[in-house]
Amino acid sequence: MRVLAIDTALEACSAAVLDTEQAAILASESHIMVRGHAEALMPLIASVMAQASLRFSELDRIAVTVGPGSFTGLRVGIAAARGIGLAAAKPVVGLTTLTALAAPYIAADDSLPIAAVIDARHSHVYLQLFGTGGRTLIPPRIVPLREAVHAAAAASARLVGSGACMIAQNWSNQEPPQLVDERRAPDIDWVARVGAAADENQSAPKPLYLRAPDAHPQSAAQLPRR
């Protein structure tokens, strides 16, 4: 299976092409980026497709991170992936940034739990906790930092993601966490690998915001009626 992977949900702009039959990443590029994904992404995709010497029609699917992350960033990736999917008539699968962050560590050793934590500001984090065998113990959610510390420490979890250090600094166990990887974005090669394995029917490329839009109904300005 040939997969084009895209991630713009966090602090990178990345694309990669994976061929599962050769078990090889054919091309992969990642740039640290806080803003500017909308300008950088499409030339980047053109570049990895050229490096992989592939036409879009030769892909089997497109994989994209759907969040949680920057609202604008994750929409850039999803709009690109769905646009390519439509134009090339290829299926698109979505996976969470949290899964993609945890995936290499689950693959390396799935006997130890791992918590993927992304800084969500205002003393909150996006959290997903994986137990032995990579099973999800806590599905993606936004929680106060304290709650995330409690959950991760109780499971003696390894920590990955932009919130890893925040959790480690507030760690409540005597034993320090076994691993703290404060990476700001997933490894794009792992987005491709998880995307290749994803079940097409269970992985719709829809945004996962975990936060409601900041908007309040307005009625204060209205004058009273008789």
Partner: protein, 358 residues
């Protein structure tokens, strides 16, 4: 040539296919618009993040439908156009990124269209109006008088200094509890009201520039309404009628000045063209007719579905630009702010001293 057009700058998600013949005539092959009105109604106005979320959920499905209705496949189109601004940046990013993806996969040129330019050129799609003409663009986000001299050659003759006309209607509706969007509601109430009951100002009246100001009118309306609150049904109707009459007077006056400026600089316009949702207001439409008759030019008002935001206008503007050899790279940036006068035209490439700008 056939161009796909994508519009996502505000609260309509739209996709369309338009054909431009070698003779410059246009034909709409499909035109799909999905309005988000219900999603924003509770907030009394468009909430940017809600709009952006809605666009990304449906845009690819709308494009697929537009292609299907036109009976076309991607290899049969000649270009992909998207509104790259001005507008709510979250939505613009979704539309432009999707367009880039379509262009890259199909190896078609990308055309980043200015949303205002698309409104400005719509009359050429519907009525084949030749350059130069005078455009009155009035919507929830814009109120401008523009000399349209050619593709990519626009001179702003008048602009609002504060609120757009549509915005003033929306705020009036909100104040009076009439729901969103406010334009049609206020217009309907006004038909039952007495326009002479309240004395409201006509801001900028008889000024020598062609600019607008609406915020003072809005404040004056609120003060009048507060004096008599709580409001009866008749009070609301009378307030709406008085407000609408003030807007009609302001539009007539400002446009008269704008048309005079046009004549002084560029000679007689081939037409007065109205665009934007406000053109659907019948009282304003009547005033425009009268004005065009008085100065001896014809009034062109595209049908309402092409006056409000739509994909066909983006596709058409894209086709006009493509025909002029104007295309964009895949790295082009979406723009929240993008004045019409900063739109590049063919002459900008060869002429280092474009026509004088105000």
């Amino acid at each position: 040539m056939v161009v796909l057009g994508i519009e996502t700058t505000c609260d309509e998600t739209a996709a369309a296919l338009v054909e431009r013949g070698a003779d410059g005539r246009g034909r709409i092959l499909s035109n799909i618009v999905l309005s988000q009105n219900d999603e924003h109604a509770a907030f009394g106005g468009v909430v940017p993040e809600i709009a952006a979320r809605a666009h990304v959920e449906v845009l690819d499905l709308l494009i697929a439908r537009a292609m299907q209705e036109a009976g076309l496949t991607f290899p049969q189109i000649d270009g992909v156009a998207a509104a790259a601004g001005p507008g709510l940046i979250g939505g613009v990013i979704v539309g432009l990124t999707t367009a880039k993806a379509m262009a890259l996969v199909n190896q078609k040129p990308l055309i980043a269209v200015n949303h205002l330019e698309a409104h400005a050129l719509t009359a050429r799609l519907t009525d084949g109006v030749p350059f130069p003409y005078c455009l009155f663009l009035a919507s929830g986000g814009h109120t401008q008088i523009v000399a349209v001299r050619g593709v990519g050659d626009y001179v702003l003759l008048g602009n609002t200094l504060d609120d757009a006309i549509g915005e003033a209607f929306d705020k009036t509706a909100k104040l009076l509890g009439l729901g969103y969007p406010g334009g049609p509601q206020v217009e309907q109430e006004a038909t039952r009201g007495d326009a002479s009951r309240f004395t409201l100002p006509r801001p900028m009246f008889a000024r020598h520039d062609a600019n607008f100001s609406l915020s003072g009118l809005k404040t004056a309306l609120r003060l009048e309404a507060e004096k008599i609150a709580p409001l009866s049904d008749q009070d609301v109707s009378d307030l709406c009628a008085s407000f609408q009459q003030a807007v009609v007077d302001v539009v007539s006056d400002r446009l008269r000045v704008g048309l005079r400026l046009f004549r002084e600089r560029y000679g007689a316009p081939t037409a007065l063209v109205a665009a934007g949702g406000v053109a659907a207001n019948q009282a304003i439409g009547k005033a425009l007719h009268k004005l065009a008759f008085q100065i001896g030019t014809r009034l062109i008002v595209p049908p309402p579905a092409l006056c409000t935001d739509n994909g066909a206008m983006i596709a058409w503007a894209g086709a006009e630009r493509l025909a002029a050899g104007l295309t964009d790279g895949l790295d082009i940036a979406p723009r929240a702010r993008w004045p019409l006068e900063e739109v590049a035209g063919p002459r900008a490439m060869t002429d280092p001293h474009p026509a004088s700008r105000i």
